[in-house]
Symmetry: C2
Subunit: 477 residues, 2 copies
């Protein structure tokens, strides 16, 4: 849990390191903005990767190291004094915390800190810069508003709320390990966005520690509040680059009394879109998800995850979820819709699930294939897979190769971004720009907007110590 926790909070990023010569050490070791560092990691890993990627002239190459300080024994002593037993330097633990899930990015932090209170976060950021704060602070059963610390695991919050007949307004594949603070910091979308809207509407308040260590209390639990500017919006989706979220209040919907999942097959993408329109009209207020996968995605699910297609083979598949307060009404709406979709030949085959186990089985058909395939030896060279959240206008494109293939990557990435930009789409609908897409921001945002983002960053983090190298393009340093 600790590593995911840390990842969600950008702690690893805050503790991102750099090798610096004494002459470039602009920030004194005892300054509030000192950063943890491990130059051995850097010289061994980052530098090599840098050399390779520079040759590829990729825009997502590892960023040039900035003049941050190194972790000293004195720093470690200080961290151990304020976080006894929660200042981790074990190499194995650090190794697993320095790599992302896709094993595509490597950090080089030498220290892992596990603070438990807002005051501790503030202390750390004051000394250099960021959370296991996983307590529910309150829940109002009349309004359905939950207030909790940012380190709460999404699934734990869901289980807590379920006893009270409520649910979280978001659901993600990673719910068992991701933290609500990280969800908010990355403005996570997930499976329920179609029904309950984005975190920009459901998050009612935030507590944030600013770059200089000051605590900003915007932890309101009000559905409506128009007293001045809505500062919390600055931190939602800013990927930890403007402040560290330490607590969250969120508006939670009632737990639905009935849930159904339908798996359908379609001949064309146009029919799929027409099916979406029909279902928006006929299922109305009970529609909670509309997802799709293509035939190649189905083939991979068959081959690698041993999941069998529950219906006959089709070019496109649809997963529809309904959630409502009356099982009979929901079932009637669903069957009326299915009758209409079949009679008008929009869909060619389908199956319905109402029991939880069958629902889970159908939902598993929609999971991404995951990084395992990329490394699987001896499999077919390349596959192109499309799936995702049609209801939110947000699709995933996964292209896999048996081994790392820089030439293939170089052929895909500019092309996909250009195609998306021509249609005024987002090159990062769900996951943020992070490290890899920071220099591609201009494909989706005009230069004036990016320039204003730079002003916002400078206003809130003038020394650039919060999650450096992320979100904003390199020339903003």
């Amino acid at each position: 849990m600790a590593k995911i926790f840390q990842r969600a909070f950008g702690l690893k990023s805050v503790l991102r390191c750099t090798k610096v010569s004494a002459a470039r050490k602009l920030i004194p070791l005892d300054s509030p903005s000192i950063l943890a560092t491990n130059h051995f990691y850097l010289s061994k890993n980052c530098t090599r990767t840098l050399a390779t990627d520079t040759a590829e002239k990729s825009k997502s190459l590892p960023p040039e190291r900035r003049p941050f300080s190194r972790v000293t024994k004195e720093d470690l002593n200080y961290f151990q004094s304020i976080l006894p037993g929660r200042t981790i330097t074990d190499p194995d633990l650090l190794e697993s915390n320095n790599v992302d899930w896709l094993k595509s990015v490597r950090g080089s932090s030498e220290v892992l800190l596990r603070p438990q209170t807002t005051a501790e976060v503030s202390q750390i950021l004051r000394y250099c810069n960021s959370p296991l704060m996983n307590n529910v602070l309150g829940f109002d059963t009349v309004s359905g508003i939950l207030t909790c610390q940012a380190g709460c695991v999404l699934e734990n919050l869901s289980l807590y709320l379920e006893e009270k007949d409520y649910i979280m307004p978001l659901d993600l594949g990673a719910k068992g390990s991701c933290h609500i603070g990280g969800n908010v910091a990355t403005n996570a979308g997930g499976l329920r966005l179609l029904r309950y809207g984005s975190l920009r509407g459901t998050v009612l308040g935030l507590e944030v520690v600013l770059a200089d260590g000051r605590v900003l209390d915007c932890l309101s639990t009000l559905r409506k509040d128009n007293t001045g500017y809505d500062l919390k919006q600055l931190f939602i989706g800013s990927e930890g680059t403007l402040g560290v979220i330490t607590a969250v209040s969120v508006l939670c919907p009632r737990k639905p009394k009935s849930v159904n999942v339908v798996f359908l097959g379609c001949e064309t993408f146009e029919q799929l879109l027409k099916t979406f329109q029909l279902c928006r009209g006929m299922l109305g207020e009970i529609l909670s998800a509309f997802e799709f996968l293509d035939s190649e995605c189905m083939r991979l699910l068959n081959t690698h995850l041993k999941l069998s297609n529950p219906i006959s083979d089709c070019p496109f598949y649809i997963v529809i979820e309904t959630a409502g307060s009356d099982p009979n009404h929901d079932s009637e709406k669903l069957h009326n819709f299915l009758d209409e979709a079949m009679n008008t030949s929009l869909v060619t085959d389908g199956t319905v699930a109402t029991e939880e186990s069958k629902i889970k089985a159908l939902w598993s058909m929609h999971l991404p294939a995951g990084p395992g395939h990329e490394a699987a030896p001896g499999q077919r060279a390349r596959s192109v897979v499309g799936y995702g959240h049609v209801g939110d206008g947000n699709l995933h494109l996964n292209i896999t190769s048996p081994a790392k293939n820089p030439a293939l990557l170089a052929a895909i990435e500019p092309f996909v971004y250009e195609w998306t930009a021509q249609r005024r789409g987002s090159i990062s609908a769900e996951h943020g720009l992070g490290l890899k897409k920071r220099n591609y921001i201009y494909y989706s945002k005009p230069s004036r907007a990016v320039s204003l983002m730079g002003d916002v960053k400078h206003m809130l983090d003038p020394k650039g110590i919060l999650n450096p190298y992320k979100t904003l393009p390199d020339h903003f340093r």
Copy 2:
């Protein structure tokens, strides 16, 4: 329409004037930040009011005039050259445009400008500073996303969408005259917030003209976009003090096939809250509004608007609206809920409306009494009325007196704000801080947050020319 248009866009505020001595005229007449002015208005009205209110030591007294320039003949010539026929100086038209609906605040602008395009707005802001831009720019029938100019009247947008089987995600009493740009600039809540959420979630994109005349294009039509910071959020609810909104894209829900309104009576406020909980559970996804009014509000509606109580006399009344996709299902849910509420004695009386005329009649019971009463001669000295949006945790308190009564006002305003602050409530849930509440912001926001709001204002409008004297407290000038 022109005056409302202007109000919604903060144009009047942008053209807010001040009397200055030549020595204090910091901004040259030909500078980009020149403001329209009328010192006769000010010396005649504002100065007198200032003197009176200073004696009352009210925090909402008219702000001290800032060293803005005056409108010259050259300025008028310029405006007439870029806006022929749309540069208004007619005293009668100006008079009606210089007063708010409640007749509680008076401006002193000498010119009313009516631009029609973003380029014109940009020209005006370049010359000094702010929109009849009322065209629908596009509507996507698959996603339900509407893009329009900021000058579109909310009701016109609703009528446009209704033909396409969609509705706007917000509805207000003022829909016949208010503009979508103003709705967004003030983060208007309204009657549908309980169901469709706030504009922070449903507004997908904005085009904004910045204080220096540059156009910021954030007019995205994407439900999900995490490419950098979500800059549009800065302008939602900032009351025109950070930029002028010129176009909006908004996510629209499907038009419900069935609407019902119920009017109920309750003995205690606690029973009213229990009724809300019951109805949230039993009506679930079809609940679209839960509003209340008290017995004194009902008395005033009887006396002044000749609206008769449709049920027996009660201390508290509830208006519940349902909106769904199946009339039979909705009706069944509603009657199950009403049976339960009656059987458990939560409500003592009630009536249901399904026809549009009866629905309108029941909704009219919820309207505020309006400013007419304040001036009605010979009526009883004082009434205290409570009503509002229980479903959103946002209530209205109207206290009326037959004539302006500064002593009464002074007794109410600190008390109500202190009471609200003690409960961590918002002293302005719906309407923004504007001119009158600007100095009360600390009752709802900590000083650190207000200070950061000042930084945001300074970043986006360093000369303070956008809607001066509003939202932020006086010491931020």
